[in-house]
Amino acid sequence: MRVSYRMLKRFLPELSLRPEEVAEVFLNQGFVVEEVLSARDLFCYPLLAGTLVEAHHEGLLTRCTVKLGEHTFQVLVHPSGVPETGSRVLVGFEDHTPLFLPVRGERAREVFDFLLPLPPFLEEGDDVYEALIGDDVVFEVEVTANRGDCLSVLGLARELAAHCDIPLVLPRMHCAEKPIHHGFRLENEAPHLCPLYTGRYVTAITVQPSPFWIAKELILMGMRPINNVVDITNLVMLEMGQPLHAFDAARIRGNLVRVREAEEGERLVTLDGEERILRKGMLLIADADRPIALAGVMGGRDTEVGPKTREIFLEAAFFDRVSVRRTARALGMRTEASARFERGVDPLGVMQAASRALALLEEMGGEVASGWLVSGQPPFTAWEISVPWELVVQRLSCEVPQKEGIRILERLGFQVAQEGATLRVRVPSWRPDVREPIDVVEEVGRVYGYGKILSSFPSFPFDPGNVPREESLENRIRAHLVHRGLYEVVTLSLVEGEGVNMLGLEGEECVTVLNPLSQEHAVLRPSLFFSLFEVVRTNARRGRRSRGFFEVGKVFFRKEGNFREEKHLGIILWNVPQPALWKEDPLDLLTLKGLLEEIEELAGAGYGAVCPGRVFPVFEEDGAFVVSSPEEGAEPLGWGGKVLPDFLRRHDVEGEVYYLEIRLEDLVVWGQDRPTRDFAPPAFPAVSRDISVVVDASTPWAFVASLVAEEAKRSCMALEEFVLFDVFSGDPLPPGKKGFAFRLVFRAPDRTLEDEEVGRWVQKLKESLKQTGRVVLREEMILSHE
């Protein structure tokens, strides 16, 4: 909402605040001032008084000659917009081009709708700013959704009146009426959507340019002057907040104005020249034959007030806010009128606004027929709210004097009766948002000033609970991954549908947005893979280098018709040539597995079995795995693998990429309630022995490991642990063979082990390994060069 300082002053003659103070008051009372403009930002400059010296008809247009000192300008004007020869008219300049519609930024044009007449006291060549505009200032005020009443000069002026404690003066609303017969009738077939509809008939209208003061105020408030009738309805809407519409009465068929719901597919060409196809139930204004306006949104073109209009039908109504909102949204046409109806207009202000417009029309020579055409009642029942003063003081945490509070409320238009320490507050018709005592508290607080609220701290006994294990574990894992050289990322959880397909996930299991803004953000990700791969891609494209990235975020899917969201951890490793310092730290599938083990250890979860298995088709067949849950039949804890080189090439990513995804919530669950281990330090020394074996290159370590574990158990050995410390191949081993070297650590809880005893155990283990026929002891192997 735009409002100018001088317009506010028109409603508040005693206003003594400076413009910058006005802006401050607006802000402090809940209206953000987005911009403060000077009048010179809105009009072109310079702006001078010229004289219309000659008007000459040329076909449908009039060629006017405007004199300005020794210069004369020729301009084509529509005949209805030509004032009397000899009048002073407005001439603006922008880049030395004469403009007759003096709005800043207006382009020069061949034909003007009108020349704006200026009051005759101006001399030719006078500066119009100095004489008629002054250094006016315009405030661009943001009005919150609850304050429809402040989409008007009146509403904003009332806010200032409350702050300054000064009276509000309404503009003239009286006109002389004449007993003119017109025969118009009203039919309201949709009182539920239009509880009040009023019409007035005005004749003897001469459509011409508005007087300068109206044109000026409209321009200051961001609207274009069109002609005196339309400008008056617009000006009154800005003044009072009530949209009005003037129909050319001669174009209304059957002298009938009907308010009704549209039939499906009905058509109406609106003022902007667009043909609108209406949906059933949209509220419209019709005459005896056809729609003539979209109620509360925009008038129809056929009944538009134009140069030939002699008589008008002036509409002032209260339309249902939801109905107007739906219609405007469905047709994509938010107008000044619809914006006001949507937020609710003052039900008791409807006829007041019409009266204001009639007074101005009369000033322009219109003859107002006596009597209102009215259908319905203003939808308003007065209500009262009882507010104990104590409530105001307590909730606001400041000692507002009761007298001050009453004064504020009264200036805002509330009627206040005092009953001891309780106020009985009667709410004005333009404040439907004030329903409860707390709303009254806010009104007082707003104007009294939030700055005066005394700060305190809410103290009461409350145990917030421990840091949830989930949160602390998540944070420890994040910190660990950062310490391992990875960057944490945050990515959008809305992804492209195509990405989901490339993972081979069933489309129906994914959650799709019904109304996406773009196909890029149309599906809720069912995995973090797309997002993390995209991060690698972005960085590859920009020539960046990194060991990898991780993200903790939610993934989404449907399961048995329900939405599911799970918190996952995604890790992507990127093996590209790194700065030399990093060289020695390899990045491969086992690095990925190592991270998995570290995370499991951090969670105290024990290790899930890592089995070969390809979850996403973008992984290499042999380089993919699934981490199974230790619980029988449970969903896997995670999955991962090496991304296919082909896939990387297609997306211009060099190097190798490894990916791991872990279902974080399950990890949290696993690790909890883990039995605490025996803390006592061992009392007796351990004995270590190393064994080195040679096997076929295809034999996994797990084969050897499980043999050792089983034999140790079967023979009741005091084997504390055994650790693989080397895997070797190549010379002196023959091709196709590899070796494992591992350390056995023996310890008994109750005694020092004898060398001989340990020797027997080791011998036993060696025997059982040999017995498989797949394992040869390194010391017994005859090597080529020995």
Partner: protein, 339 residues
Amino acid sequence: MIEEIEEYLRDFEGELAQVLTRDDLNRVKGKYAGRKSRIPLFLERLKTLPLEERRVVGRRLNEVKVLIEERLREKEAELSRKERKREFVDLSLPGRRHPLGAFHPLRLVMDEIVAIFRSLGFRVEEGPEVETEFYNFEALNIPADHPARDAQDSFYLGGGFLLRTHTSPAQIRVMKKLTPPFRVIVPGRCYRRDAFDATHSPVFHQVEGLVVAPGISMGDLKGTIEVFARRLFGEKRKVRFRPSYFPFTEPSAEVDISCGICQGVGCRSCGGQGWLEIMGAGLVHPQVFRNVGYDPEKIQGFAFGMGVERIAMLKFGIPDIRWFFENDVAFLSAFKGLG
């Protein structure tokens, strides 16, 4: 014999002066001080001398023996010093180390906000990102077709579900789950149907706060937010409350902090305003209490909600919201060492 001893000492001094290495020193040591040196021979011969002479020569021999040992020790120390010098470590070389990654700035800010509120006795809760329209709007006193919905254009999923447009529905969930009094914050991800540009992202983060207890007032809200804002942005920053409108709070407020550069005077960085908006807040609307079955006569509360991206942009001076979601290493590495 005394002559021979003196000569022995001179020879020793001469050879010791030639010593450069530990090998040299060991050789000299063997020759002049060990069992194979001439010292034992001198001692043997000493026995043959007459008593008077024996005493004089013996004393001298002892002196020479001690002197030789001392000189050898000195020489050894000297060599050690020299050797240590050769083991010079170039401390200007870079350390042997692992590369570190970095936390994401949004998570850094979120973690910091959570930590501050935890220290003030707040509990941390989470809510689902897929919400019902009812929780996201109606329960929060935002009826269908209300203009307040304009600012929260939603992504719909069908069946009455949508992606939450704010963390506020968690207020409803928390109130249903807990029994007052309580202090809770809910960090989380939100979605609005906004085109991706320098200041808007269809996916963003908020932290919601809710305190419910009898007698909660605007002063409690203001005090809490002031403590929070000063801890997050610095003690020098001023906090300003101004009225605003949210359907689920009454009275409602918008909270600003003074610009870190001009401290409220107005400069280019804050668009001449002097103040930067950081959150919306207010007392919980009685209707919201009624919607969850609380009696607004008996219980009060305040709520607030802040945009994490906005706060991170203010805190780190980031001009474009899209930078957060691009995750360029060049951007991310700027946050090394934080958190």
